[in-house]
Symmetry: C2
Subunit: 72 residues, 2 copies
């Protein structure tokens, strides 16, 4: 699995954990909802800038966001 | 500091640690050398696909790559 897909799975995992809808997370991150759908499904080759927005919206330090077996 | 810049600093730190030139790391990652310069200097909004190539070329698990104070 490549990072693009792994990133999406991790975002979804954490989003559900804090009980946010995709729309709510997209709004909080300042990202278009359809773009967020593409990120979570691994279809979007998400950029560092948008990763940053999403991770900040999840309120997690970057090291903690990537500290998951999903990325092994 | 945003993720784009932090990522570049971490790549440079790890590249120097294993004694690779920018050119050698770019070649190993299958990425253009000038693009790699842009990544290291934080000028490139690097994508997940290219992050993946670079991290794999550094031979580090993704969680370990991001496990650095640079990302706090």
């Amino acid at each position: 699995m490549d990072l693009q897909v792994q990133f999406g799975l991790r975002v979804k995992e954490l989003r559900l954990k804090i009980g946010l809808s995709q729309e709510a997370l997209a709004y909080k991150a300042g990202i278009d909802r359809t773009y967020m759908t593409g990120v979570e499904t691994g279809k979007r080759n998400v950029s560092a800038k948008n990763m940053d927005k999403i991770i900040k919206a999840l309120e997690l330090p970057v090291p903690e966001f990537f500290n998951s077996a999903l990325f092994n």
